[in-house]
């Protein structure tokens, strides 16, 4: 979700991001087509404020630790319409990506500071401090840690007064499909919290669609 521009900053580019044929998901609740809704707290010292947010998973390529989708911010004060951005995610699978970001102006200290905000991270902390989590096997861990980086605005121009320079530290719960995240951008208010829940879209249960690339 975009945040207000505090200082002028160009969106950073992710390099070597991968996609490919859709592979089976680790968790069905995080598979393509799944939708989530909730809020992002954008409060600052002057004002308490939260924007409503919808997220939809559009692509998943576990082999490359890749996930992508859109994020829609609904009640953005300076925008006439909901603002939709496209994001790409790095899944911390300890093969493709570790807990250390190594880019986007995030130091290991920033990383640890954000990851430790998730209670489910605490059992991993000691090992992560040693090697970024490289030696951890997270394949059976009921939480999936990710970084989501917005790449472009889908429905508004870059001159909309919003920035997508930062990225999110994300923790997904495989049990109930809830998502917690913290936005990190050295130029924005710290620890803006993203809280999303899996949406059933008026259904009595969970519905799943799928596509497969050739």
């Amino acid at each position: 979700m975009p945040v207000r521009v505090v200082e002028s900053s160009a969106p950073s580019q992710v390099s070597g991001a991968n996609s490919g044929q859709t592979s089976p998901s680790i968790c069905t609740l995080l598979s393509v087509g799944q939708a989530f809704s909730g809020t992002q707290n954008v409060s600052n010292l002057q004002k308490e404020e939260a924007w409503r947010v919808n997220v939809r998973i559009q692509g998943c390529d576990l082999e490359h630790g890749y996930l992508c989708g859109t994020m829609e911010a609904l009640n953005v004060p300076m925008a006439d319409t909901p603002v939709v951005t496209f994001w790409e995610g790095e899944i911390v699978d300890t093969k493709n990506y570790t807990f250390y970001t190594g880019k986007w102006e995030a130091t290991p200290e920033n990383d640890i500071k954000h990851w430790t905000k998730f209670p489910s991270f605490s059992p991993l902390l000691n090992q992560v401090e040693v090697d970024g989590g490289k030696s951890l096997d997270l394949s059976n861990y009921p939480y999936i840690f990710m970084r989501w980086k917005e790449q472009y605005f889908v429905n508004v121009g870059t001159d909309c007064g919003l920035t997508i320079a930062g990225f999110y530290y994300v923790c997904f719960s495989c049990s109930d499909g809830s998502i917690n995240g913290f936005y990190y951008d050295p130029n924005s208010s710290p620890f803006q919290k993203l809280e999303l829940k899996c949406t059933n879209e008026e259904r009595s249960g969970f519905s799943f669609s799928s596509y497969e690339l050739q």
Partner: protein, 665 residues
């Protein structure tokens, strides 16, 4: 007035006439003249072929060989010359000209040419070997049986011969006839590898022939490769590596191909970064060769990088996309070269997003789109494959980069192509492009895409049916209601039901996946299942009862699971489908829950979760039915399922089931 042709024909007839002369000098002169006329001249070869020159020359050879055998006259130079010249003429007809090879073989000249190899006269042997080598370049040449002991001995004698055409013939025989792993092993055990290795140090033609034969013997046979590389021939491998830097382009290509085969057969070898980079650079540079080598270089490049992400990355780093594009934008390429470059680009973009980004930023897409309308079907296929690769970029699909008229219109047009292979490859690209997140599906529908896809889903060819359904399934993914309605009206419930019950499992799977997407999204979509007296719903049930593979069960269970998120009546319909009252046999639900495929177990538990949502009024009755059918106890057994997803879904299901169990006790 066709004066020249008449003159040519007259000259041709004249030569043919002189070939039948009783005067041997005249005959010999005519043979020489004929040879000179047809060498490297395809048109002349064809015109003499039509005049019946090949059987005439074959018979001259046959007579001369017989004369030589009967008259023990080693000094009959004219007869020897006739043999040499007639063999040379036959070889010329066979050189790079399939119709010529066929005519030579039909005229029965092959055994006569083979006989020349046992002559004492060097020139005769050389002429026979040259001609046979030409014949062995063709697929039409008879297969050489390596399993016969005497044949293997003869082959070794050819390879050991000092005459480069004779040893070259031995190598050509191997390249042509060695097909099976048994033959590869036999040749390797007979010491052929060692012999071929020694030929690598010989003349240009020996080197090239040897490289080709080595590649043939290595192909897909790790045992032989290990024997060659592992034990005795480390030096030989480095010799081949050196030949990648040879000054002759063909040798560089053949050496590269040989190493690619070693790598592809036994991936543990040739992992050195320098060699990998050298191979990539050599092949990219050979693309610039104006002849056959340039045509073949792109195919060799593809075999080097196909399915290998590390190689694609390396090639990307040396600007392979740019280099391939530069050859492409030169325009007016020979179809084979055009096809090869498009396929190389397709392989480059098959896995890595950085390659796709580069491809799109260079505007290669426009050239590929033009190629969709090329006269050659192979080029059209290659263009589709290229589009399919580049459209694997979810980032660009999300940005709607491909869903525009420039791409869609020519692709949809190809669905009408007279070639089935073109149709299948166009369907491959369309399947990706219709994964749309920008609500531009209507464009595809407006271009007549859905009508065409529905037509193709009725094809007699199951590959076309399954691919057409694949595209429709992807088009249906997260489609808005109006779009779904349009597709459904075109497809009809009865066609969908019959496709679900198609004889081919791959078609069934895609049809079920399509229905799964149809009933997802807006809750009213569930009603599609019950159109025309529920024929789709019944077809899904029938297919699940007889599911021949896990994928069908998975898609079918997600259909039912999605329907079970609807109203009470929908949930009840699913219950009746899963546990029909009249059927007392073990429900397939139990088999699915016990499946070895965790994806099928997951899909099945989701259906149970949706049927037992505590908020729905009929849930308690359904829980009782599920318990009576043994489903609840089966689910209880799964609390420690090895698959995390299944385990967590089982917990959700049990949480819901327990609510009712508690209230019923």
């Amino acid at each position: 007035m066709p004066t020249t042709t008449t003159t040519a024909a007259t000259t041709g007839s004249n030569i043919l006439h002189r070939l039948t002369s009783a005067d041997r000098d005249v005959k010999l002169k005519a043979l020489r003249e004929l040879k000179n006329q047809i060498i490297g001249n395809r048109t002349k070869k064809l015109s003499f072929l039509k005049l019946g020159a090949v059987p005439t020359v074959a018979s001259i050879l046959s007579d001369a060989v017989s004369t030589d055998a009967v008259v023990d006259n080693n000094n009959d130079n004219i007869n020897k010359n006739i043999i040499v010249q007639s063999a040379a003429v036959l070889g010329s007809f066979a050189c790079g000209f399939e119709a010529g090879v066929k005519a030579v073989l039909d005229a029965g000249a092959f055994p006569k040419l083979s006989r020349l190899l046992s002559y004492h006269d060097e020139k005769v042997v050389d002429a026979g070997a040259r001609s046979l080598k030409m014949i062995y370049q063709s697929k039409l040449a008879p297969k050489y049986d390596f399993l016969l002991e005497k044949n293997m001995e003869f082959l070794l004698s050819l390879l050991n011969n000092e005459n480069e055409n004779v040893s070259g013939l031995g190598a050509s025989i191997i390249s042509h006839s060695c097909k099976t792993s048994v033959e590869q092993k036999l040749l390797s055990d007979a010491g052929v590898l060692r012999k071929l290795t020694s030929l690598l140090g010989g003349s240009l033609s020996q080197r090239d022939a040897s490289l080709e034969s080595l590649a043939t013997i290595f192909k897909s046979n790790p045992e032989v490769v290990v024997k060659f590389v592992g034990n005795e021939s480390e030096r030989a491998l480095s010799c081949i590596i050196d030949l990648v830097k040879d000054r002759f382009a063909r040798t560089r290509l053949l050496a590269s191909l040989c190493l690619i085969i070693v790598r592809n057969t036994s991936p543990c070898y040739l992992q050195d970064l320098a060699i990998k980079t050298k191979l990539i650079n050599t092949l990219l540079e050979l693309l610039g060769d104006p002849g056959q080598v340039g045509d073949e270089a792109s195919f060799a490049f593809s075999s080097l990088i196909a399915q290998k992400e590390d190689m694609q990355k390396l090639a990307f780093e040396v600007n392979a996309i740019d280099k391939l594009y530069n050859h492409l934008k030169g325009g007016s390429l020979h179809p084979l070269r055009f096809e090869g470059i498009l396929l190389a680009l397709a392989d480059m973009c098959s896995k890595l997003e950085c390659c796709r980004s580069r491809f799109l930023s260079l505007q290669v897409l426009n050239l590929v789109i033009d190629a969709l309308a090329h006269d050659s079907s192979d080029v059209r296929i290659a263009a589709c494959i290229c589009l399919r690769s580049v459209s694997r970029s979810i980032k660009n699909l999300s940005a709607g980069s491909f869903m525009n008229e420039t791409v869609v219109i020519p692709l949809v047009r190809l669905l009408d192509d007279s070639s089935t292979s073109v149709q299948v490859s166009a369907l491959g690209a369309i399947s990706n492009i219709v994964v749309d997140f920008t609500t531009r599906r209507s464009l595809f529908i407006r271009c007549g895409g859905v009508k065409q896809l529905v037509q193709l889903s009725k094809s007699m060819d199951s590959t076309i049916r399954s691919n057409a359904l694949w595209a429709l399934r992807n088009l249906m993914f997260l489609a808005e209601n109006k779009c779904k309605e349009g597709i459904f009206l075109e497809l009809t419930a009865s066609l969908l039901a019959s496709l679900i019950c198609d004889p081919e499992p791959i078609v069934q799977e895609q049809a079920l996946a399509l229905v799964r997407n149809l009933v997802d999204g807006c809750i009213s979509s569930v009603e599609y299942m019950f159109a025309e007296d529920g024929i789709i719903f019944d077809a899904v049930g029938r297919q699940l009862r007889s599911a021949s593979k896990a994928e069908i069960g998975i898609q079918g269970m997600y259909v039912l699971s999605n329907v079970a998120t609807g109203k009470e009546s929908h949930k009840e319909a699913v219950m009746n489908q899963l546990l029909p009252t009249e059927n007392r046999t073990q429900p397939y639900l139990i088999n699915f829950l016990q499946s070895n495929d965790s994806r099928l177990r997951t899909a099945t538990v989701w259906a149970v979760v949706n049927l037992t949502c505590s908020s729905s009024p009929g849930a308690s009755v359904r829980v009782v039915k599920l318990r009576d059918a043994g489903i609840v106890s089966q689910i209880k057994n799964m609390v420690n399922d090895p698959c995390l997803d299944v385990k967590l879904r089982v917990r959700t299901a049990l949480g819901q089931l327990m609510t009712f169990e508690d209230s019923s006790t």
